[in-house]
């Protein structure tokens, strides 16, 4: 349990650094560390597959693209436009609403019994695959079609530009 609290502290700490660091590239690097702590959380919950996929997909691919884009844009504090106070206030209110909604939904669900204790081997690749392809086959396939359509849409947009 103390390990969990330590990792959770690191997650919160690094995500705060993401927001507060001035340099956008440093922000992304802290975001990478944040995702790494998430991977550790998954492993602590015995979800090996989810953890390693989080590691590969988020840390290894998506954030590389983030970093790639930011490095190309070469942002720095001098050239960045200053946001007006109104925008800042709107941002704070929007973020606060999201926080309240999340906390409320967690509170309503009220499920304090950890899922992992009922079936500690659920996170292993074999069991996860069986569950995904039997019990949740339809949602799984529908979400894959959603991803495919997003991909086709992106290609279409890129073609239109040129």
């Amino acid at each position: 349990m103390s390990l969990f609290y330590f990792v959770a502290f690191l997650s919160v700490f690094f995500s705060l650094l993401v927001i507060f660091s001035k340099n956008p590239v440093h922000s992304v690097l802290y975001l990478i560390l944040t995702f790494f702590t998430f991977t550790i959380h998954y492993f602590l919950l015995n979800a090996q597959f989810l953890g390693i996929v989080n590691f590969i997909v988020y840390m290894g691919a998506i954030l590389v693209l983030f970093l790639y884009t930011l490095m190309l844009m070469n942002l720095n504090t001098e050239t960045e436009p200053v946001k007006s106070n109104l925008l800042k206030i709107i941002g704070v209110i929007g973020g606060g609403c999201l926080l309240v909604t999340l906390i409320a939904s967690l509170k309503i669900s009220g499920n304090t019994e950890p899922v992992i204790l009922r079936d500690p081997n659920l996170g292993l690749v074999k069991n996860l695959g069986k569950v995904l392809f039997h019990q949740f086959l339809l949602p799984f396939e529908v979400s894959s079609i959603l991803l495919l359509s997003a991909m086709v849409g992106a290609v279409l947009l890129a073609k239109k530009e040129s």
Binding site: I52, I56, L65
Partner: protein, 347 residues
């Protein structure tokens, strides 16, 4: 007993780490000798007989050189870059099965640091992490050429990771496991049930895709665009000097060693060799011969890496992207479909 296990693993890790470093060191020597052989030259022959102390001389030179950190660079990240590169290169070896079990007295020693059940995915994760070392280093140098090298490395790695993953999926459809030890054990011996047991004979197309992607992931020629001297001065490590440059170069050779080991394990039977249980040898001797067989395969692949480097010229950048996205990915998907069809017919 628990302490003994920790001690055993610690010794194993130390040995593997040492072997990785020594292999990487001698790969630099081998590379120059192979280059010399292919170009009809002599190669390094001054330090010791046949120049075998050349890597030590090179290493000493690297350590003695002046350390330059550019004043306009972002200080800490400039050091983090090469450290991350060498770190990610070294941790990949943890899941590779180096041999079968060794019995000393009453103790059975597993010649693998850890057999996690997502072994292949772990290797994948480490490979995808490897690009950060180059990206961070290239960006922190605050040099346009370094940045271009870093960006090339990033886009190249991401593009070829997809084809690599798809080629692995076809292999996993046949093996039905993600654990590297089980995959190695399934390829036991050389011949059974009327067909070769090694996966390269069951997944020839998948292997070709995998090895091309391995070249791209390790930034080896013909895909060494991140360090293309003719266009980028020196590539992502233009600003680096001394041992920090050494770490980048060293990481490349360790990556080559690890990817050779992975290829040997996944496709060429790992520690298996023909007639391994028909020779009437004791278990321990078979295990040791298996380790030797694995290393022969690894050395062959390292030689293959060098052979290609001194044979094929570098790709142009658009050709690299075309090959990755328009050739390898469709081929890998076709391979998955074919594997599925064959696996259903010959069940």
């Amino acid at each position: 007993m628990e302490l003994a296990l920790v001690l055993e693993k610690f010794i194993l890790v130390a040995i593997i780490f040492g072997i990785s470093l020594v292999t990487a060191m001698y790969s630099t020597y081998a590379e120059r000798k192979v280059a010399a052989f292919l170009q009809d030259r002599v190669g390094p022959n001054r330090a010791g007989p046949f120049g075998i102390f050349q890597p030590m001389a090179d290493g000493a030179k690297m350590f003695m050189k002046e350390e330059i950190i550019p004043t306009q660079s972002s200080g800490l990240l400039f050091i983090v870059g090469p450290s991350l590169a060498i770190l990610t290169a070294c941790i990949g070896s943890a899941v590779i099965p180096w041999g079968q079990k060794l019995t000393i007295g009453s103790r059975v020693i597993d010649l693998q640091v850890t057999d996690i059940n997502v072994g292949i995915l772990y290797i994948f994760g480490v490979v995808s992490l490897g690009v950060y070392g180059i990206m961070i280093g290239g960006w922190a140098s605050n040099n346009k050429y370094s940045l271009l090298g870093a960006i090339r490395a990033a886009s190249q790695n991401i593009s070829y990771e997809i084809a690599m993953g798809l080629s692995i999926i076809a292999l996993l459809m046949l093996t039905g496991t993600l654990s590297l030890r089980q995959i190695a054990e399934q390829q036991h011996g050389f011949w059974s049930n009327g067909w070769f047991t090694w996966n390269v004979f069951r997944q020839p197309l998948g292997f070709i895709i995998f090895i091309i992607c391995a070249f791209a992931e390790t930034n080896r020629s013909p895909f060494d665009l991140p360090e293309c001297e003719t266009e980028l001065v020196g590539g992502y490590h233009t600003e680096y000097s001394s041992m920090k440059l050494g770490f980048y170069l060293f990481a490349e050779y360790i990556n080559m060693f690890i990817s050779s080991a992975v290829m040997a394990t996944l496709y060429f039977g790992g520690f298996n060799f023909p007639f391994m249980h028909h020779l009437g040898l004791s278990e321990n001797l078979v295990t040791i011969l298996g380790v030797v067989a694995l290393f022969i395969k690894i050395i062959f692949f390292i030689f293959f890496f060098m052979w290609v480097r001194w044979t094929i010229p570098r790709f142009r950048y658009d050709q690299l992207m075309d090959l990755g996205w328009k050739v390898l990915i469709p081929l890998a998907i076709a391979n998955i479909v074919l594997t599925g069809v064959f696996a259903t017919i010959f069940k």
